[in-house]
């Protein structure tokens, strides 16, 4: 395949940045999207140009580090698929592909396609945990968990923290990410003692970190590579109201 790539280039956080066009020949349909970029970068390196910086690590869809907006869609056209698991067979010969970084106020660009997502860590720091110091645990079977709750908690816990939800949201909201953690921990008996403070503290941290509010557009869940459902946000809102009520 031969492709025309239009890629966002930005030297550093202060640079204004712009789209730059590259032609790439001999792309194999069996390549992953990131392998296609590897090929481009090998060429740029030998041509004496600066290779395109992008984040990636496990390349098997679980670490959450890869993060590209491809033709306007975070992680590209395939449903429930991270960029690293997207393969070139889903594109056609001669196609033009736009590649941009996550764009959100809370995720400033570091360089080219690399953004700073530490705002997510701030949300977790505010309460995205169960306080269980090492060594303090009772036997694992001390508190049975109904299978349905355990399964639902697991589904919410599969969030990989990639930030596609934020990149897709017109408000740049991190609500789906926050709600996934609230849901995971709130469904488990171990998560009950901190349930109220957790939701209040995490939401405050979310707002402070520069994420926008949620207006239920649902773009987040449609691009989520793990299919975290929108209902988690309803659950978060319910927990938040209850927590505020209890606090007053």
């Amino acid at each position: 395949m031969s492709l025309k790539l239009r890629i966002w280039r930005q030297a550093d956080a202060r640079d204004k940045g712009s789209m730059v066009t590259y032609q790439l020949q001999n792309v194999s349909p069996d390549m992953s999207f990131l392998e296609m970029l590897d090929v481009l970068n090998e060429r740029l390196t030998l041509d004496g140009e600066d290779p395109v910086a992008f984040d990636h690590d496990c390349r098997e869809g679980i670490c959450g580090m890869c993060s590209l907006v491809i033709n306007g869609v975070p992680h590209g056209p395939e449903k429930a698929t991270t960029t690293c698991q997207l393969h070139m067979r889903h594109f056609s010969d001669g196609e033009t592909i736009d590649i941009e970084p996550w764009r959100a106020a809370a995720f400033p660009v570091v360089k080219d396609l690399v953004v700073d997502r530490r705002a997510f860590d701030k949300i977790i720091q505010a309460g995205g945990f169960i306080s269980a110091p090492t060594g303090s645990a009772p036997d694992a079977h001390a508190a049975p968990v109904p299978k349905a709750d355990a399964d639902a908690a697991f589904e919410a816990a599969t969030c990989i923290g990639c930030g596609a939800c934020v990149a897709a949201c017109p408000n740049g909201s991190g609500m789906l990410f926050t709600a996934a953690k609230i849901t995971h921990l709130g469904l488990l008996p171990q998560g009950q003692p901190e349930r109220d403070t957790r939701v209040i503290d995490m939401l405050h941290a979310h707002d402070e970190a520069g994420f926008g509010g949620c207006t239920n557009t649902g773009e987040c869940t449609s691009v989520c590579p793990k299919g975290i459902p929108l209902e988690t946000i309803s659950r978060l809102n319910k927990d938040y109201r209850k927590a505020l009520h209890a606090a007053s």
Partner: protein, 644 residues
């Protein structure tokens, strides 16, 4: 062979108590010095890496009251590659009442490691396994449960008891997020400071003690020196020396290798685990390999055509022209033989010219029989996510055509040498998780990596490090100190050198070539002649690297080529040591198969007379020095493994 190395004094683990194995860990904890709680906040610890071992250690040390500084090269500690572990975590809970016990897990692990690990360490690991599950459940790790609300388990990797706890095919992710959340809690509490997108490039040793690290801020390029009273390396394994492996792209040996160059012994570097069920290479562009969980072998049947060069599609190959070679050679275990045996058998049939798919480097893993027996829905319920992943990567539908699989490098049992306290041969330098060599011998069992990472980080290190720190705090340091300044200068000079070569080959082109040499000669089957050839090719390629590598840009900001260049430079040196280790060990054991040492029917032949020891290598800059740590077995008596 003495051209390649020389023999030094033996080493010994001086920290494990003697006497009944069941109480050794308890007695060691009692014997270890304690640090007064009020003094803990005056003591600082650097932890490099935030996977299961590093994340759990940093969180726990923070809870104990130490000042912890945590480092990772990724953008968040949650990305560490432990996250990709699929299968599960072993624990001797015996919730199934199926005959499991601490002793059985201990026994299975020593035997599975082909009698090349320390009994004391392995027994402690089996004891702690029980606490790990409790700890993780308390943190909210959503393990799979049964309808009664209790935890589900499965048997895994050929184990005859059901002791593997799991969270679908994402156990590593869930355990890591548990450790990550505990870590973030300590960051919020102010006991841990987090330095993401930072890479350790040198170890600082002052007055014979590990006292800090030189790091590069990967975003600004700034080089800084960081000090502490002890340094913990939790920087993972070195499978990426093969270029293609199931490791994340960033996994590297640099932290361990820099410590090795400064005096930390490197143990059993040739022990690598090659996993039999990975998706085969599809072309020259391939950047990594993807593991398909071993659980697939519970229902899939492995076969190749009986005839060489048979290029028919699998559906056109009649039953009597197929060779279900694992079932044929190993009738007792069939498709469930251990990883090393399944991998080598796949290599053998491909070497015979009977491999399938592009380049003939693949074998079929066929679910037709399972679908016929259980129905498609049942197979989908069990393996749906894996089948989806396979289809995404290959574009083929495994429900209707057999999967193609091939072995790939997956885990490294070797690592920095540590004593029972997990302290390396450098005082104050501790090594945990995959980065050390301690528990798996020559072969790791399935679902034991997660167990070891968390045992080290949550329970072992936090109890043993106090014995060392009780002598601190050590004198304050600054950049003026000659040893500190020298370490910093080494880093700066190396970066300058890499940037100044400005040659005509990319870093990746060298890394790929190194990987090919290692896979060919130091992979699934090793020979004397092949390893000698590999050593000379590695040396030539290394020399060429330092003449011809092209690293664009400068050191002033984010420069991913520069990061890779430094890692590959260290892989060259490690690769040579791996080959020397493999060459010197003229026996087959676990993941190390020497063609010269096999039984009449082609199975691995151990040589306990000559090789029942840990090979701990000392760096000299020239030929390395071998220090042997003799292994003794008081509880599990060495026997030849048999799976027929």
């Amino acid at each position: 062979m003495t051209d390649y190395y020389s023999l030094g004094d033996p080493v010994a683990d001086t920290k494990a108590p003697d006497g009944p194995i069941e109480t050794r860990w308890e007695r060691r904890r009692f014997g270890a010095k304690l640090v007064n709680p009020a003094n803990k906040r005056k003591l600082s610890v650097i932890v490099v890496g935030t996977g299961l071992a590093g994340g759990s250690a940093a969180a726990t040390l923070g809870e104990l009251g130490y000042q912890v500084k945590s480092y990772c090269y990724q953008d968040s500690p949650r990305r560490a590659h432990s996250i990709a572990a699929q299968g599960g975590i072993n624990a001797a809970k015996n919730y199934r009442n199926d005959g499991d016990s601490v002793h059985r897990l201990f026994y299975d692990t020593v035997k599975g490691g082909d009698f090349r690990s320390r009994e004391s360490n392995v027994h402690r690991l089996a004891q702690i396994s029980v606490q790990i599950i409790d700890q993780c459940v308390a943190q909210g790790v959503p393990f799979a449960r049964e309808y009664g609300g209790l935890l589900d388990t499965r048997s895994f990797g050929g184990a005859q008891v059901s002791r593997t706890f799991y969270a679908r095919g994402q156990t590593g992710q869930q355990l890591l997020l548990g450790a990550y959340q505990a870590l973030e809690r300590q960051i919020a509490a102010g006991t841990v400071t987090m330095h993401d997108r930072h890479e350790m490039l040198e170890l600082i040793i002052v007055d014979g003690r590990a006292r800090g690290i030189v790091v590069r801020d990967l975003v600004t390029g700034e080089i800084t020196t960081e000090f502490a009273d002890a340094v913990v390396l939790a920087s993972g394994g070195y499978g990426n020396v093969f270029f293609l492996s199931t490791n994340a792209k960033g996994c590297n040996v640099t932290a361990s290798w820099r410590a090795h160059r400064k005096g930390a012994l490197f143990a059993n570097p040739c022990y690598t685990q090659i996993h039999p069920t990975c998706i085969p290479v599809s072309g020259d562009h391939q950047s990594k390999l993807t593991l398909m969980s071993e659980s697939l072998r519970n229902d899939g049947r492995v076969w190749v055509p009986k005839a060489k060069g048979d290029t028919r599609i699998p559906a056109d190959i009649p039953e009597d022209e197929r060779d279900y070679y694992l079932e044929r050679i190993y009738p007792a275990f069939g498709n469930l033989v251990p990883r090393d045996i399944a991998s080598r058998a796949a290599k053998n049939v491909c070497d015979e010219g009977r491999g399938v798919g592009p380049g003939g480097l693949g074998v079929y893993l066929d679910f037709a029989a399972a679908i016929g027996r259980l129905g498609r829905d049942a197979v989908e319920a069990k393996y749906g996510n894996l089948f989806d992943m396979y289809q995404r990567i290959t574009g083929e539908d495994p429900y209707t055509t057999p999967m193609r699989i091939y072995p790939a490098v997956h885990y490294t049992m070797g690592g920095l040498w540590v004593d029972y306290d997990l302290q390396s041969s450098i005082p104050g330098l501790f090594v945990i998780g995959e980065a050390n060599f301690s528990d798996h011998g020559a072969n790791r069992l399935g679902a034991s990596a997660l167990m070891q990472g968390l045992a080290d980080g949550y329970f072992v290190l936090p109890n043993t490090i106090g014995d060392y720190l009780a002598a601190g705090p050590f004198p304050k340091l600054d950049g003026e100190n000659a040893e500190v300044a020298a370490a910093r200068k080494q880093v700066e000079d190396r970066i300058e050198k890499l940037l100044s070569i400005d040659g005509d080959r990319t870093v990746d082109s060298f890394h790929r070539e190194l990987g090919r040499i290692m896979w060919e000669y130091c992979g699934m089957e090793r020979t004397d002649a092949g390893l000698r050839k590999a050593i000379s090719e590695i040396r030539e390629l290394k020399a060429e690297f330092w003449q011809r590598v092209k690293v664009p840009g400068d050191g002033e900001g984010l420069n991913q080529s520069l990061e890779r260049a430094g890692r590959v430079a260290d892989f060259f040196e490690l690769a040579e040591l791996m080959c020397i280790d493999a060459l010197h060990r003229e026996e087959s054991c676990g993941g190390h198969f020497r063609a010269e040492s096999q039984t009449e029917d082609g199975e691995a032949q151990r040589d306990d007379e000559r090789y029942s020891y840990v090979a701990a290598w000392e760096f000299t800059g020239d030929a390395p020095v071998l220090h042997k740590e003799d292994l003794t077995f008081e509880y599990v008596h060495p026997s030849q493994r048999s799976y027929k």
